[in-house]
Amino acid sequence: METAYLIETVIKIVIILLVFSALAGFGTYFERKILAFMSRRLGPMNVGPYGLLQIAADGIKLFTKEDIIPTNVVGRIFKIAPVITAATAFMAAAAIPFLPAFTIGSYEVNPIVSDINIGILYILGVMGIGLYGPLLGGMASANKFSLLSAARSAAVFISYEVVTGLSILAPIMIVGSLSLIDFNNYQATHGWLVFSQPVAFILFWIAAFAETGRTPFHLVANDHEIIDGFGTEYSGMRWGLFFIGEYANMFFISFVIPLLFLGGFGDGSVMGAFAFLGKMAFFFFFFLWTRAAWPDVRPDQLMMLCWKILMPIAVINIVITGIVMM
Protein backbone atom coordinates (compact mmCIF):
# COMPACT_ATOMS: atom_id res chain seq x y z
CA MET A 1 0.00 0.00 0.00
CA GLU A 2 2.67 2.43 1.12
CA THR A 3 4.87 1.74 -1.92
CA ALA A 4 1.94 1.87 -4.33
CA TYR A 5 0.88 5.22 -2.88
CA LEU A 6 4.42 6.56 -3.10
CA ILE A 7 4.87 5.51 -6.72
CA GLU A 8 1.44 6.87 -7.64
CA THR A 9 2.18 10.27 -6.07
CA VAL A 10 5.58 10.55 -7.75
CA ILE A 11 4.03 9.68 -11.14
CA LYS A 12 1.28 12.25 -10.64
CA ILE A 13 3.78 14.97 -9.73
CA VAL A 14 5.93 14.19 -12.76
CA ILE A 15 2.89 14.20 -15.08
CA ILE A 16 1.65 17.54 -13.72
CA LEU A 17 5.11 19.07 -14.07
CA LEU A 18 5.56 17.84 -17.64
CA VAL A 19 2.04 18.60 -18.85
CA PHE A 20 1.84 22.08 -17.41
CA SER A 21 5.33 23.22 -18.33
CA ALA A 22 4.50 22.08 -21.89
CA LEU A 23 1.10 23.79 -21.65
CA ALA A 24 2.81 26.98 -20.51
CA GLY A 25 4.68 26.91 -23.82
CA PHE A 26 1.44 26.31 -25.71
CA GLY A 27 -0.12 29.09 -23.66
CA THR A 28 2.28 31.61 -25.19
CA TYR A 29 1.37 30.30 -28.66
CA PHE A 30 -2.38 30.58 -27.96
CA GLU A 31 -1.88 34.03 -26.55
CA ARG A 32 0.01 35.29 -29.58
CA LYS A 33 -2.45 33.73 -32.01
CA ILE A 34 -5.56 35.01 -30.23
CA LEU A 35 -4.14 38.49 -29.71
CA ALA A 36 -3.16 38.50 -33.39
CA PHE A 37 -6.64 37.49 -34.56
CA MET A 38 -8.25 40.09 -32.33
CA SER A 39 -6.12 42.81 -33.88
CA ARG A 40 -6.58 41.36 -37.42
CA ARG A 41 -3.07 39.97 -37.80
CA LEU A 42 -1.89 36.42 -38.41
CA GLY A 43 0.47 35.93 -35.47
CA PRO A 44 3.35 33.42 -35.74
CA MET A 45 3.12 31.75 -39.16
CA ASN A 46 6.62 30.90 -40.37
CA VAL A 47 7.91 28.10 -38.13
CA GLY A 48 6.11 24.85 -38.91
CA PRO A 49 2.53 24.47 -40.13
CA TYR A 50 0.48 27.45 -39.00
CA GLY A 51 3.34 28.58 -36.80
CA LEU A 52 2.89 25.63 -34.43
CA LEU A 53 6.60 24.92 -34.04
CA GLN A 54 7.19 28.48 -32.85
CA ILE A 55 7.04 27.03 -29.30
CA ALA A 56 9.98 24.75 -30.05
CA ALA A 57 11.92 27.63 -31.57
CA ASP A 58 11.24 29.81 -28.52
CA GLY A 59 12.19 26.95 -26.22
CA ILE A 60 15.51 26.34 -27.98
CA LYS A 61 16.27 30.05 -27.89
CA LEU A 62 15.51 30.37 -24.17
CA PHE A 63 17.48 27.26 -23.22
CA THR A 64 20.59 28.06 -25.21
CA LYS A 65 20.80 31.78 -24.50
CA GLU A 66 23.61 32.88 -22.21
CA ASP A 67 22.55 33.25 -18.59
CA ILE A 68 23.81 36.71 -17.70
CA ILE A 69 24.18 37.79 -14.07
CA PRO A 70 24.88 41.55 -14.26
CA THR A 71 27.36 43.20 -11.89
CA ASN A 72 25.95 45.02 -8.84
CA VAL A 73 22.94 42.72 -8.53
CA VAL A 74 22.37 40.77 -5.30
CA GLY A 75 23.51 37.50 -6.83
CA ARG A 76 21.74 34.80 -4.85
CA ILE A 77 18.39 36.57 -4.65
CA PHE A 78 18.61 37.47 -8.33
CA LYS A 79 19.16 33.80 -9.19
CA ILE A 80 16.46 32.38 -6.94
CA ALA A 81 13.65 34.82 -7.81
CA PRO A 82 12.47 33.13 -11.06
CA VAL A 83 12.59 29.74 -9.36
CA ILE A 84 10.19 31.02 -6.67
CA THR A 85 7.61 32.05 -9.27
CA ALA A 86 7.77 28.77 -11.17
CA ALA A 87 8.04 26.49 -8.12
CA THR A 88 5.15 28.03 -6.16
CA ALA A 89 2.90 27.85 -9.22
CA PHE A 90 3.46 24.10 -9.41
CA MET A 91 3.30 23.64 -5.62
CA ALA A 92 -0.16 25.20 -5.65
CA ALA A 93 -1.25 22.56 -8.16
CA ALA A 94 -0.83 19.85 -5.48
CA ALA A 95 -4.34 20.47 -4.11
CA ILE A 96 -6.19 20.85 -7.43
CA PRO A 97 -8.23 17.89 -8.71
CA PHE A 98 -7.63 18.06 -12.46
CA LEU A 99 -10.07 15.32 -13.48
CA PRO A 100 -12.65 13.11 -11.75
CA ALA A 101 -11.36 9.86 -10.25
CA PHE A 102 -11.02 7.03 -12.78
CA THR A 103 -9.84 3.40 -12.74
CA ILE A 104 -7.02 1.81 -14.70
CA GLY A 105 -7.70 -1.92 -14.66
CA SER A 106 -8.77 -2.32 -11.05
CA TYR A 107 -6.61 0.44 -9.62
CA GLU A 108 -8.44 3.64 -8.73
CA VAL A 109 -6.60 6.85 -9.61
CA ASN A 110 -7.45 10.22 -8.09
CA PRO A 111 -5.97 12.91 -10.33
CA ILE A 112 -5.06 15.09 -7.35
CA VAL A 113 -1.66 14.94 -5.67
CA SER A 114 -2.99 15.43 -2.15
CA ASP A 115 -6.60 16.03 -1.09
CA ILE A 116 -5.81 18.11 2.00
CA ASN A 117 -8.95 19.37 3.69
CA ILE A 118 -7.93 23.02 3.40
CA GLY A 119 -7.27 22.85 -0.35
CA ILE A 120 -8.47 26.27 -1.44
CA LEU A 121 -6.68 28.12 1.36
CA TYR A 122 -3.45 26.30 0.54
CA ILE A 123 -3.75 27.04 -3.19
CA LEU A 124 -4.40 30.76 -2.67
CA GLY A 125 -1.62 31.05 -0.08
CA VAL A 126 1.02 29.32 -2.18
CA MET A 127 -0.02 31.14 -5.35
CA GLY A 128 0.31 34.38 -3.38
CA ILE A 129 3.95 33.55 -2.59
CA GLY A 130 4.49 33.47 -6.37
CA LEU A 131 4.47 37.29 -6.37
CA TYR A 132 7.68 37.17 -4.32
CA GLY A 133 9.40 36.25 -7.60
CA PRO A 134 8.78 39.60 -9.36
CA LEU A 135 9.32 41.44 -6.07
CA LEU A 136 12.70 39.85 -5.34
CA GLY A 137 13.79 39.92 -8.96
CA GLY A 138 13.01 43.60 -9.15
CA MET A 139 14.63 44.49 -5.83
CA ALA A 140 17.81 42.51 -6.51
CA SER A 141 18.29 43.84 -10.02
CA ALA A 142 20.05 47.15 -9.21
CA ASN A 143 17.93 48.80 -11.90
CA LYS A 144 15.57 51.67 -11.23
CA PHE A 145 12.80 50.39 -13.49
CA SER A 146 13.03 46.93 -11.96
CA LEU A 147 12.75 48.49 -8.50
CA LEU A 148 9.65 50.41 -9.57
CA SER A 149 8.20 47.18 -10.89
CA ALA A 150 8.95 45.48 -7.56
CA ALA A 151 7.14 48.30 -5.75
CA ARG A 152 4.15 47.80 -8.01
CA SER A 153 4.13 44.06 -7.34
CA ALA A 154 4.08 44.80 -3.60
CA ALA A 155 1.09 47.07 -4.26
CA VAL A 156 -0.67 44.29 -6.16
CA PHE A 157 0.10 41.82 -3.41
CA ILE A 158 -1.39 43.90 -0.61
CA SER A 159 -4.48 44.74 -2.67
CA TYR A 160 -5.89 41.55 -4.09
CA GLU A 161 -5.38 39.08 -1.23
CA VAL A 162 -8.13 40.61 0.89
CA VAL A 163 -10.58 40.38 -1.99
CA THR A 164 -9.80 36.74 -2.83
CA GLY A 165 -10.02 35.74 0.81
CA LEU A 166 -13.27 37.53 1.57
CA SER A 167 -15.00 36.69 -1.71
CA ILE A 168 -14.32 32.99 -1.24
CA LEU A 169 -15.62 33.05 2.36
CA ALA A 170 -19.33 33.14 1.46
CA PRO A 171 -19.19 29.99 -0.73
CA ILE A 172 -17.10 28.29 1.98
CA MET A 173 -19.85 29.08 4.50
CA ILE A 174 -22.42 27.43 2.22
CA VAL A 175 -20.36 24.33 1.43
CA GLY A 176 -18.87 24.02 4.92
CA SER A 177 -15.50 22.77 3.71
CA LEU A 178 -12.28 24.08 2.20
CA SER A 179 -11.55 21.04 0.07
CA LEU A 180 -12.05 21.48 -3.67
CA ILE A 181 -13.42 17.92 -3.95
CA ASP A 182 -16.10 18.78 -1.39
CA PHE A 183 -16.93 21.91 -3.38
CA ASN A 184 -17.33 19.78 -6.48
CA ASN A 185 -19.49 17.16 -4.77
CA TYR A 186 -21.68 19.81 -3.16
CA GLN A 187 -22.36 21.39 -6.53
CA ALA A 188 -23.08 18.01 -8.14
CA THR A 189 -26.06 17.59 -5.79
CA HIS A 190 -27.12 21.18 -4.98
CA GLY A 191 -26.54 22.99 -8.28
CA TRP A 192 -23.79 25.38 -9.26
CA LEU A 193 -22.63 27.94 -6.73
CA VAL A 194 -22.50 30.68 -9.35
CA PHE A 195 -26.31 30.91 -9.17
CA SER A 196 -26.44 31.27 -5.39
CA GLN A 197 -23.21 33.31 -5.12
CA PRO A 198 -22.94 35.45 -8.29
CA VAL A 199 -21.30 38.37 -6.45
CA ALA A 200 -18.60 36.16 -4.96
CA PHE A 201 -17.99 34.63 -8.39
CA ILE A 202 -17.42 38.01 -10.07
CA LEU A 203 -15.21 39.24 -7.21
CA PHE A 204 -13.08 36.10 -7.24
CA TRP A 205 -12.76 36.29 -10.99
CA ILE A 206 -11.58 39.92 -10.83
CA ALA A 207 -9.13 39.03 -8.06
CA ALA A 208 -7.85 36.11 -10.15
CA PHE A 209 -6.63 38.64 -12.72
CA ALA A 210 -4.65 40.43 -10.02
CA GLU A 211 -3.41 37.11 -8.62
CA THR A 212 -1.96 35.99 -11.94
CA GLY A 213 -0.85 39.53 -12.79
CA ARG A 214 -2.72 39.68 -16.10
CA THR A 215 -4.12 42.70 -17.93
CA PRO A 216 -5.94 44.85 -16.69
CA PHE A 217 -3.75 44.34 -13.60
CA HIS A 218 -0.54 43.67 -15.53
CA LEU A 219 1.11 46.56 -13.75
CA VAL A 220 3.88 44.37 -12.30
CA ALA A 221 5.67 44.37 -15.66
CA ASN A 222 4.40 47.71 -16.87
CA ASP A 223 4.06 47.26 -20.64
CA HIS A 224 4.13 50.91 -21.66
CA GLU A 225 7.58 51.33 -20.12
CA ILE A 226 8.58 49.17 -23.15
CA ILE A 227 11.09 47.26 -20.96
CA ASP A 228 9.87 44.26 -18.99
CA GLY A 229 9.68 45.62 -15.45
CA PHE A 230 11.24 43.14 -13.01
CA GLY A 231 12.49 41.02 -15.93
CA THR A 232 14.62 43.76 -17.49
CA GLU A 233 17.95 42.35 -16.30
CA TYR A 234 17.06 38.71 -16.86
CA SER A 235 17.99 36.63 -19.84
CA GLY A 236 17.66 33.08 -21.11
CA MET A 237 16.09 30.37 -19.00
CA ARG A 238 15.74 32.48 -15.85
CA TRP A 239 13.49 34.86 -17.77
CA GLY A 240 11.70 31.82 -19.21
CA LEU A 241 10.98 30.53 -15.70
CA PHE A 242 9.06 33.71 -14.91
CA PHE A 243 6.98 33.01 -17.99
CA ILE A 244 6.38 29.36 -17.14
CA GLY A 245 5.24 30.42 -13.67
CA GLU A 246 2.87 33.05 -15.02
CA TYR A 247 1.23 30.77 -17.58
CA ALA A 248 1.07 27.78 -15.23
CA ASN A 249 -0.65 30.07 -12.70
CA MET A 250 -3.16 31.11 -15.37
CA PHE A 251 -3.96 27.48 -16.12
CA PHE A 252 -4.26 26.53 -12.46
CA ILE A 253 -6.54 29.42 -11.58
CA SER A 254 -8.63 28.54 -14.66
CA PHE A 255 -9.05 25.10 -13.08
CA VAL A 256 -9.89 26.54 -9.68
CA ILE A 257 -12.63 28.99 -10.76
CA PRO A 258 -14.88 26.32 -12.37
CA LEU A 259 -14.24 23.99 -9.43
CA LEU A 260 -15.38 26.65 -6.98
CA PHE A 261 -18.32 28.15 -8.83
CA LEU A 262 -19.25 26.32 -12.03
CA GLY A 263 -19.78 22.76 -10.91
CA GLY A 264 -16.26 21.47 -11.58
CA PHE A 265 -16.34 18.00 -13.13
CA GLY A 266 -19.88 17.33 -11.90
CA ASP A 267 -20.76 13.75 -11.07
CA GLY A 268 -17.44 12.42 -12.36
CA SER A 269 -18.59 10.99 -15.70
CA VAL A 270 -16.53 11.28 -18.89
CA MET A 271 -18.87 14.04 -20.10
CA GLY A 272 -18.31 15.89 -16.84
CA ALA A 273 -14.56 15.64 -17.30
CA PHE A 274 -14.75 17.09 -20.81
CA ALA A 275 -17.13 19.82 -19.66
CA PHE A 276 -14.60 20.67 -16.93
CA LEU A 277 -11.78 20.98 -19.44
CA GLY A 278 -14.08 23.10 -21.61
CA LYS A 279 -14.81 25.48 -18.72
CA MET A 280 -11.08 25.65 -17.98
CA ALA A 281 -10.40 26.51 -21.63
CA PHE A 282 -13.01 29.27 -21.53
CA PHE A 283 -11.47 30.93 -18.48
CA PHE A 284 -8.00 30.68 -20.00
CA PHE A 285 -9.34 32.22 -23.20
CA PHE A 286 -10.96 34.98 -21.18
CA PHE A 287 -7.54 35.94 -19.76
CA LEU A 288 -6.28 36.46 -23.33
CA TRP A 289 -9.49 38.17 -24.44
CA THR A 290 -9.20 40.76 -21.67
CA ARG A 291 -5.60 41.39 -22.60
CA ALA A 292 -6.66 42.24 -26.16
CA ALA A 293 -9.61 44.38 -25.07
CA TRP A 294 -8.58 46.38 -22.03
CA PRO A 295 -5.76 48.76 -21.03
CA ASP A 296 -3.88 48.46 -17.74
CA VAL A 297 -4.94 50.32 -14.63
CA ARG A 298 -2.58 52.38 -12.47
CA PRO A 299 -1.40 50.95 -9.12
CA ASP A 300 -3.40 53.54 -7.15
CA GLN A 301 -6.50 52.67 -9.18
CA LEU A 302 -5.98 48.99 -8.44
CA MET A 303 -5.64 49.68 -4.73
CA MET A 304 -8.73 51.91 -4.74
CA LEU A 305 -10.68 49.25 -6.65
CA CYS A 306 -9.67 46.46 -4.28
CA TRP A 307 -9.93 48.26 -0.94
CA LYS A 308 -12.72 50.78 -1.48
CA ILE A 309 -15.05 48.94 -3.87
CA LEU A 310 -14.47 45.18 -3.98
CA MET A 311 -13.72 44.64 -0.29
CA PRO A 312 -16.91 46.34 1.00
CA ILE A 313 -18.97 44.41 -1.57
CA ALA A 314 -17.35 41.16 -0.42
CA VAL A 315 -18.06 41.95 3.24
CA ILE A 316 -21.70 42.83 2.50
CA ASN A 317 -21.98 39.60 0.53
CA ILE A 318 -20.71 37.62 3.53
CA VAL A 319 -23.15 39.34 5.90
CA ILE A 320 -26.13 38.73 3.60
CA THR A 321 -25.10 35.09 3.07
CA GLY A 322 -24.82 34.65 6.83
CA ILE A 323 -28.30 36.14 7.45
CA VAL A 324 -29.86 33.98 4.72
CA MET A 325 -28.19 30.84 6.06
CA MET A 326 -29.46 31.47 9.58
Binding site: L121, G128, L147
Partner: protein
Protein backbone atom coordinates in the same frame (compact mmCIF):
# COMPACT_ATOMS: atom_id res chain seq x y z
CA UNK B 1 9.85 7.49 8.24
CA UNK B 2 8.79 10.28 5.87
CA UNK B 3 7.69 12.36 8.81
CA UNK B 4 11.11 12.04 10.40
CA UNK B 5 12.87 12.98 7.17
CA UNK B 6 10.53 15.93 6.62
CA UNK B 7 10.91 17.08 10.23
CA UNK B 8 14.71 17.09 10.22
CA UNK B 9 14.86 18.65 6.77
CA UNK B 10 12.54 21.51 7.67
CA UNK B 11 14.04 21.91 11.14
CA UNK B 12 17.45 22.38 9.54
CA UNK B 13 16.07 24.73 6.87
CA UNK B 14 14.14 26.85 9.36
CA UNK B 15 17.10 27.27 11.72
CA UNK B 16 19.43 28.01 8.80
CA UNK B 17 17.05 30.65 7.45
CA UNK B 18 16.62 32.43 10.78
CA UNK B 19 20.40 32.24 11.33
CA UNK B 20 20.89 34.06 8.03
CA UNK B 21 18.23 36.58 9.05
CA UNK B 22 20.12 37.64 12.16
CA UNK B 23 23.68 37.42 10.90
CA UNK B 24 23.63 38.91 7.41
CA UNK B 25 24.29 42.59 6.79
CA UNK B 26 22.43 42.56 3.47
CA UNK B 27 18.81 43.72 3.96
CA UNK B 28 17.47 41.71 1.03
CA UNK B 29 19.03 38.47 2.31
CA UNK B 30 17.63 39.08 5.77
CA UNK B 31 14.09 39.76 4.54
CA UNK B 32 14.04 36.84 2.13
CA UNK B 33 15.45 34.46 4.73
CA UNK B 34 12.82 35.67 7.20
CA UNK B 35 10.02 35.03 4.70
CA UNK B 36 11.44 31.60 3.83
CA UNK B 37 11.82 30.67 7.51
CA UNK B 38 8.22 31.66 8.24
CA UNK B 39 7.00 29.58 5.32
CA UNK B 40 9.16 26.57 6.30
CA UNK B 41 7.63 26.68 9.79
CA UNK B 42 4.25 25.89 8.20
CA UNK B 43 5.71 22.50 7.27
CA UNK B 44 5.68 21.53 10.97
CA UNK B 45 1.97 22.27 11.17
CA UNK B 46 1.39 20.09 8.11
CA UNK B 47 3.48 17.27 9.63
CA UNK B 48 1.44 17.46 12.85
CA UNK B 49 -1.81 17.27 10.88
CA UNK B 50 -2.83 20.87 11.63
CA UNK B 51 -3.37 21.74 7.96
CA UNK B 52 -5.46 24.81 8.66
CA UNK B 53 -2.83 26.45 10.84
CA UNK B 54 -0.17 25.56 8.27
CA UNK B 55 -2.01 27.29 5.44
CA UNK B 56 -2.83 30.28 7.65
CA UNK B 57 0.86 30.53 8.58
CA UNK B 58 1.75 30.76 4.88
CA UNK B 59 -0.98 33.28 4.05
CA UNK B 60 -0.43 35.57 7.04
CA UNK B 61 3.35 35.67 7.09
CA UNK B 62 3.89 35.95 3.35
CA UNK B 63 1.70 39.07 3.50
CA UNK B 64 3.37 40.40 6.66
CA UNK B 65 6.90 40.08 5.32
CA UNK B 66 5.72 41.76 2.11
CA UNK B 67 5.02 44.87 4.21
CA UNK B 68 8.59 44.67 5.57
CA UNK B 69 9.89 44.52 2.00
CA UNK B 70 8.09 47.72 1.12
CA UNK B 71 9.67 49.44 4.12
CA UNK B 72 13.04 48.07 3.09
CA UNK B 73 12.46 49.43 -0.39
CA UNK B 74 11.63 52.87 0.99
CA UNK B 75 14.45 53.22 3.52
CA UNK B 76 17.48 51.40 2.09
CA UNK B 77 19.26 50.74 -1.12
CA UNK B 78 18.62 47.03 -0.75
CA UNK B 79 21.38 46.03 -3.15
CA UNK B 80 24.11 47.41 -0.84
CA UNK B 81 25.42 46.06 2.43
CA UNK B 82 24.39 47.89 5.58
CA UNK B 83 26.76 48.80 8.39
CA UNK B 84 24.83 48.33 11.57
CA UNK B 85 25.55 50.49 14.56
CA UNK B 86 26.72 48.28 17.41
CA UNK B 87 24.48 49.14 20.32
CA UNK B 88 24.51 48.06 23.94
CA UNK B 89 26.60 44.89 24.39
CA UNK B 90 24.59 43.88 27.47
CA UNK B 91 21.47 43.36 25.36
CA UNK B 92 23.28 40.60 23.47
CA UNK B 93 24.32 38.97 26.74
CA UNK B 94 20.76 39.18 28.09
CA UNK B 95 19.18 37.77 24.95
CA UNK B 96 21.72 34.93 24.82
CA UNK B 97 20.94 34.03 28.44
CA UNK B 98 17.20 33.99 27.74
CA UNK B 99 17.78 31.83 24.65
CA UNK B 100 19.87 29.37 26.68
CA UNK B 101 17.18 29.12 29.36
CA UNK B 102 14.55 28.56 26.67
CA UNK B 103 16.57 25.75 25.09
CA UNK B 104 16.92 24.02 28.49
CA UNK B 105 13.18 24.38 29.06
CA UNK B 106 12.35 22.97 25.63
CA UNK B 107 14.56 19.93 26.18
CA UNK B 108 13.18 19.32 29.66
CA UNK B 109 9.58 19.70 28.53
CA UNK B 110 9.09 15.96 27.74
CA UNK B 111 9.67 15.20 31.46
CA UNK B 112 6.58 17.20 32.31
CA UNK B 113 4.53 16.19 29.29
CA UNK B 114 3.39 12.91 30.89
CA UNK B 115 1.10 14.85 33.19
CA UNK B 116 -0.54 16.88 30.44
CA UNK B 117 -4.00 15.93 29.25
CA UNK B 118 -5.87 17.57 26.41
CA UNK B 119 -8.61 19.87 27.73
CA UNK B 120 -10.39 19.77 24.41
CA UNK B 121 -9.79 16.38 22.83
CA UNK B 122 -10.18 15.86 19.08
CA UNK B 123 -13.79 15.56 17.96
CA UNK B 124 -14.38 12.46 15.87
CA UNK B 125 -15.31 13.25 12.28
CA UNK B 126 -14.69 16.98 12.53
CA UNK B 127 -12.16 18.46 10.15
CA UNK B 128 -9.21 20.56 11.11
CA UNK B 129 -10.94 23.86 10.40
CA UNK B 130 -14.04 22.90 12.37
CA UNK B 131 -11.94 21.94 15.40
CA UNK B 132 -10.17 25.30 15.42
CA UNK B 133 -13.57 26.99 15.14
CA UNK B 134 -15.07 24.95 18.01
CA UNK B 135 -12.30 25.82 20.44
CA UNK B 136 -12.16 29.43 19.30
CA UNK B 137 -15.88 30.07 19.69
CA UNK B 138 -16.45 28.22 22.97
CA UNK B 139 -13.53 28.28 25.39
CA UNK B 140 -11.61 31.19 23.85
CA UNK B 141 -14.56 33.33 22.73
CA UNK B 142 -13.73 36.31 24.97
CA UNK B 143 -10.01 36.55 24.07
CA UNK B 144 -10.99 36.11 20.43
CA UNK B 145 -13.48 38.97 20.54
CA UNK B 146 -11.06 41.17 22.49
CA UNK B 147 -8.40 40.52 19.86
CA UNK B 148 -10.93 41.42 17.17
CA UNK B 149 -11.73 44.74 18.89
CA UNK B 150 -8.03 45.51 19.29
CA UNK B 151 -7.44 44.90 15.60
CA UNK B 152 -10.40 47.14 14.79
CA UNK B 153 -8.94 49.90 16.99
CA UNK B 154 -5.56 49.50 15.31
CA UNK B 155 -7.19 49.65 11.89
CA UNK B 156 -9.14 52.83 12.66
CA UNK B 157 -6.01 54.41 14.15
CA UNK B 158 -4.06 53.46 11.03
CA UNK B 159 -6.68 55.00 8.76
CA UNK B 160 -6.80 58.21 10.83
CA UNK B 161 -3.01 58.55 10.85
CA UNK B 162 -2.63 57.79 7.14
CA UNK B 163 -5.66 59.84 6.14
CA UNK B 164 -4.41 63.09 7.66
CA UNK B 165 -3.89 65.84 5.09
CA UNK B 166 -5.02 63.55 2.33
CA UNK B 167 -8.11 65.55 1.30
CA UNK B 168 -6.30 66.75 -1.85
CA UNK B 169 -5.04 64.33 -4.49
CA UNK B 170 -2.16 65.57 -6.63
CA UNK B 171 -3.05 63.22 -9.50
CA UNK B 172 -6.55 64.68 -9.80
CA UNK B 173 -5.42 68.35 -9.77
CA UNK B 174 -4.33 70.45 -12.74
CA UNK B 175 -0.87 72.05 -12.91
CA UNK B 176 -2.32 75.47 -12.07
CA UNK B 177 -4.12 74.19 -9.00
CA UNK B 178 -0.96 72.50 -7.71
CA UNK B 179 1.06 75.69 -8.19
CA UNK B 180 -1.65 77.64 -6.41
CA UNK B 181 -1.59 75.24 -3.47
CA UNK B 182 2.21 75.42 -3.21
CA UNK B 183 2.08 79.23 -3.23
CA UNK B 184 -0.50 79.25 -0.45
CA UNK B 185 1.59 76.89 1.60
CA UNK B 186 4.70 79.04 1.12
CA UNK B 187 2.78 82.13 2.21
CA UNK B 188 1.52 80.38 5.30
CA UNK B 189 5.00 79.35 6.42
CA UNK B 190 6.22 82.92 5.81
CA UNK B 191 3.47 84.29 8.04
CA UNK B 192 4.45 81.92 10.80
CA UNK B 193 8.12 82.84 10.52
Amino acid sequence: MFEAIAFYLFAFLTIAMFYITVTTSQALYALTALAAGMIFISAFFFILGADFLGAVQIVVYSGAVMALYSFGMMFFDTTRELHEKQGNKYIVVGLATIAAVLVVLIFSAPILSNNITALYPMVEGAGNTQEVGMVLFTKYLVPFEVAAIMLLVAMIAGIVLAGKKMDASLTLMTEAEIKDMRKQKANKTKEIV
